[in-house]
């Protein structure tokens, strides 16, 4: 595969959309999530195609918020984006770090989202989430001594 400036630019834009999505999910920001998706957004989790539309999409994140996870980080890496007609097919890796009161869960998986341009803005048309494994670890602590301050 030849890596062109155009491919790099498309990938940088999709990586930005992934980062904005993760920031909104981790910050429980439903308004931003609503802004990041198309009116007819679809979401597929594993093999399960969820009901389409913005409110059904947001219901998933309402359920996520209801879990009351203390600290949550969806780290997104390895973004590849490729124009495909009117849309952009993307792939990415993610590691979701879920710090709860009594345990930590680290989810390892992939996104294969479809992005599309809407009025000059890149939006999520189809969110595809595939979790590969969940790593269970002890609870984290919120006390940290910065180097040189102890």
């Amino acid at each position: 595969m030849t890596v062109t400036d155009e491919q790099a630019a498309v990938t940088a834009r999709s990586a930005l959309l992934y980062a904005l999505y993760a920031e909104a999910v981790d910050g429980n920001d439903l308004d931003t999530l609503r802004h990041l998706v198309t009116d007819d957004v679809r979401i597929t989790r594993g093999d399960r195609e969820e009901p389409g539309g913005v409110e059904a999409f947001l219901d998933i994140y309402r359920a996520h918020i209801a879990l009351g996870i203390e600290v949550c980080q969806h780290a997104v890496t390895n973004v590849i984006a490729r124009p495909n007609g009117d849309v952009i097919d993307t792939r990415a890796y993610f590691q979701a770090r879920l710090f709860e009161e009594h345990r930590t869960r680290v989810l390892i998986g992939e996104y294969a989202d479809v992005h599309a341009e809407r009025e000059g803005d890149l939006k999520i048309v189809h969110k595809r989430i595939l979790v590969r494994k969940v790593l269970e670890a002890p609870a984290g602590v919120d006390v940290f001594t910065y180097a040189g301050t102890g």
Binding site: A8, A9, A12, R13, A15, L16, Y18, A19, L20, A22, E23, E70, V71, Q73, H74, A75, V76, T77, Q95, R97, F99, T104, A137, P138, G140, V141, D142, V143, F144, Y146, A147, G148, T149
Partner: protein, 148 residues
Amino acid sequence: MSTDPAVLGARSARVYYAYARAVDEGDLDRLRALVTDDIKITRGDHATEDGVEAFLDVYRAHNALNIPVCKHVVTNVLAEQDGDDIVTHAYFQATMLEEDKTRVVIGVYDDVHREVDGELKLAHKKITVHRLLQLPASSGTYAHVGTE
């Protein structure tokens, strides 16, 4: 300089990666080259420190910990123009592989970057740690596939 957020994000990501590499390799000269003369650093609720030497003192202290292997992985970089500055936000996971334990530090950076003579530099390092995960020590050996 482009104000396109995707381009800004890609440029700022390079600064983050260069910073992480310099920290993990304990390279103070490289760190010095990455920052502005009036660099500031803020860590958590600690008071902001000013100047290159105060900045480097933080990494001298980090080097003194003698962590055998340290990897600061920076992801989810967002960047936005704000006057002469570029205000950024990123996630980090610092994995500190020590002799008797492994520490995984999860947090965010909210750095300010600034263009100096055509080069993007770090003007204000802002570090907030959210959680520390304590794990067992790692194994020191790894057999690459096909080498056993």
